[in-house]
């Protein structure tokens, strides 16, 4: 009986294993925003059909994605936090870093708008108003690109993480973009979101866009290839093929063609980085 169950187990493991070894594949450590906006699910099949390379996306915040790559567990990065990316490059983990697209952040909040900021386009003044009204504000608090962008805006509004974390109205939830929107919706709070996740989000409750079209709210996405010196075991060849495809005319067209609810989510920008 035992021999049979061990055989059955071996068969299962082999079946599970061969299903993933069937084709060439890379692991792309990326952010929750490109995954949950549906962009990758939309463009990856085009790339895989052309090259036979499967791209397995591990969606994490930018901070965690960079860390996964530092550890050697990813073959390529698609992230959106310029400062953290620069640090990653300075440490010698990356070989090339290229912008593929941009979109924008927005501040969303309850339609009751307790901080009276709705309709504006000055994110810093808006955050000052949120702080002085002590209106609830949800922070990702997960070292993601969006979290980093939020903290940079707060800094311009005269607040640091230390002062913010003492405030009761500032709620650090330590979660992904969707979780932050869920929390903001439940708590009638403001939060900073990327536009893509917002458009694909189905549980808005009373949330509406409060602030948009501030030049400071630009959100840049970069593809980073890993250095052969630091990451000799990574699948750098197929990773490069995918990175090159993303910035190629074909890849850029695919990114620009992706729409959700008839809105274009990502502006391809490999040719003229923002």
């Amino acid at each position: 009986m035992k021999a049979r169950s061990i055989l059955a187990l071996m068969a299962t493991i082999i079946a599970v294993h061969s299903s993933l070894a069937a084709e060439q594949s890379i692991i792309l450590a990326s952010t929750t925003s490109v995954e949950s906006s549906g962009l990758l699910a939309n463009i990856l099949p085009q790339f895989t059909a052309k090259t036979g390379i499967a791209v397995n996306v591990v969606a994490q915040g930018t901070g965690k994605a960079l860390d996964t790559a530092r550890r050697g567990d990813a073959d390529l990065l698609l992230v959106h936090d310029p400062e953290a990316e620069q640090q990653f490059m300075d440490e010698g983990h990356g070989s090339t870093r290229r912008q593929i697209a941009w979109n924008d952040f927005i501040i969303v909040g309850p339609s009751a708008d307790p901080a009276h900021i709705r309709g504006g386009n000055d994110s810093v003044t808006a955050l000052k108003a949120v702080a002085s009204a002590q209106a609830p504000f949800v922070s990702r608090g997960d070292k993601s690109g969006t979290n980093a962008a939020e903290l940079r805006l707060w800094k311009l509004a005269g607040q640091t993480p230390d002062t913010l974390n003492k405030e009761k109205w500032y709620r650090d939830i330590g979660g992904g973009m969707g979780q932050a929107l869920n929390a903001a919706s439940a708590m009638e709070a403001y939060t900073l979101s990327d536009r893509g996740t917002w458009l694909s989000f189905n549980n808005r409750g009373s949330l509406v866009i409060a602030i948009e079209r501030d030049p400071r709210l630009i959100n840049r996405y970069d593809v980073i290839e890993l250095s052969a010196h630091e990451h000799a075991n990574a699948k750098l060849g197929p990773a490069k093929i995918f990175a090159d495809w993303l910035v190629s005319a074909e890849g850029q067209r695919a990114i620009g063609a992706y729409q959700l609810n008839e809105q274009k989510l990502f502006q391809p920008s490999a040719g003229s980085p923002k």
Binding site: L9, T12, A15, V58, R71, Q179, N202
Partner: protein
């Protein structure tokens, strides 16, 4: 594509089937590995007296409550390409998930098998030895006697693996079509505000859990009435 919450497309159905299939096959594989270790181990602990046996049993029982997320984290660090087992190249694969779930299921199965074996050994041990069986030869005999309890133990292990999210999301990475299970998909759909889909997956998961418990009770009940004076 994701907007069509009312109409379920063929590709979504295909995704859904894949998720359910992966959940079950990973959990089955993990339960099988765990059982292959735990059945002989649990019985051995019951019938071989040795120094430190008590502490091992206490430890195994304590591992009942291993927090999955801690198991996932430690296993991820060990399997990471920069970790001690990095050469295996296992992070973000179903194989890594099988290992994580095996670690979670083995203590439960071992502890339950040990408890049942202890009772059976107290009752039939002398008889087996008198018949000329060595202690090693007694292991399969004892396992045969407690077969009803084995079923409960193995299904309890399966229940632990199929319902777990913390470990598999860390070592598996929740990759669509590759390592996305029911529990990680529920976490993802919830985080994207897609509560109806999350709830549908949740219903399937609960359905599987209930069927497992029902099967356990039915089979255990039948075995008890069939061999009531055996154990």
């Amino acid at each position: 594509m994701r907007k069509s919450t009312t109409i379920i497309t063929i590709s979504e159905l295909h995704d859904f089937a894949k998720i359910v299939g992966l959940s079950i096959s990973v959990s089955l594989a993990a339960t099988a590995v765990a059982a292959a270790i735990s059945l002989p181990l649990g019985t051995t602990l019951a019938i071989f007296p040795f120094r430190g046996r008590r502490s091992i049993v206490v430890l195994i029982n304590a591992f009942f409550g291993l927090p999955p997320v801690v198991v996932g984290l430690i296993l991820y660090l060990a399997l990471s390409r920069s970790g001690p087992l990095g050469f295996l190249q296992l992070p973000f694969t179903p194989a890594a998930m099988v290992i994580a779930q095996t670690i979670l299921a083995a203590p439960i199965i071992t502890a339950l098998v040990h408890r049942a074996s202890e009772r059976a050994w107290a009752r039939y041990g002398d008889e087996l030895i008198c018949d000329g069986a060595s202690r090693i030869q007694s292991i399969p005999q004892i396992l045969l006697i407690i077969r009803a309890e084995l079923l409960t133990a193995v299904l309890a292990g399966f229940g632990r693996t199929v319902s777990e999210v913390g470990a598999v999301i860390l070592v598996g990475g929740n990759i669509r079509g590759l390592t996305r299970t029911m529990t990680t998909a529920i976490a993802l759909q919830t985080s994207q505000g897609d509560l109806p889909l999350a709830l549908a997956l949740g219903a399937v998961l609960v359905g599987i859990s209930i069927s497992i418990s029902a099967t356990v009770f039915a089979l255990a009940g039948r075995a008890r009435t069939a061999g009531s004076d055996e154990v």
